[in-house]
Amino acid sequence: MNLDTVIFFAAAVVAVFGATMMIAQKNPIASALYLILSLVAQAILYVQLGGLFLGSILIVVYAGAIMVLFLFVIMLLNLRSSDDLGPPPPALGRFTKYAFGILLSVELIVIVKAARMPSKATGVLGFPVEDFGSVKAVSTQMFTTYVYPLELTGILMLIAVVGAVVIAKKENNAQVSDDSGSDRPAKKQVS
């Protein structure tokens, strides 16, 4: 058992553990922290697969930026525990959901096992080409072959930023002041 296998199994166990604990936790903040643990383990796997650039991007963008946004929203909404959400659904419904999820996983594993992959994609991994997965190699592809998808992603980001601001913005004061007839609950006093 060489070092590569040891690293893979350690990272895989941590990733699956973090993911499992994420859906098992009642406290959403603990869920977010376990997801960060799982993401760090996945970043190790990326680096092991030669994706040095992607591994660092995963840490910076995902574990850094996006999860901080999640934690920020959790704290903004002041969520303590999933128990505040009211009584749990009936046991039969929950069992059905778990059964469907496990069925989906088993099905996907069967598909992976049965799939006819290209001959290079089976068996043991060989050595990568020179400077595989480096910033230079990835960005060369990104700005030549995939330049139109990249530009489209930029437009998507712009739309998302504008959309997020518009959606999360409160209505202006004129509209809020005469909402006596609306079904919106009364605005809480900010203490």
Binding site: L69, L79, V112, T122, Y146, L156, M157, A160, G163, A164
Partner: protein, 100 residues
């Protein structure tokens, strides 16, 4: 060296855990995090194939997926805040007003 199928099975397991979380979670934010986990599981499979075929195209696609995930998280969390402001709950079962 570890075979590609090991990475694929790990990706499938992570995807399945994410799917179970999406189905069972009642907390809107945890459900969102499960969607992020499923995206990342797909990304892991992409990186593994990219390594096996010795091309970096998969890395570019993963990078674009990360960008889309960031945009999705921003818009989704804005929606969660707006819905929470109106309905005072993030229980996903209570968001059934569009279901007729």
């Amino acid at each position: 060296m570890v075979p590609v199928s090991a990475y694929l099975i790990l990706a499938v397991v992570l995807f399945g855990i994410g799917a179970i979380g999406v189905l069972t979670s009642r907390n809107m934010i945890v459900l969102f995090m499960c969607i992020e986990l499923m995206l990342n599981a797909a990304n892991l499979a992409m990186v593994a194939f990219s390594r096996a075929l010795n091309v970096v195209d998969g890395h570019v696609i993963v990078f674009l997926v990360l960008t889309v995930a960031a945009a999705e998280a921003a818009v989704g969390l804005a929606m969660i805040i707006t819905i929470f402001r109106n309905r005072e709950t993030i229980n996903i079962d209570r968001y059934s007003i569009l279901k007729w």
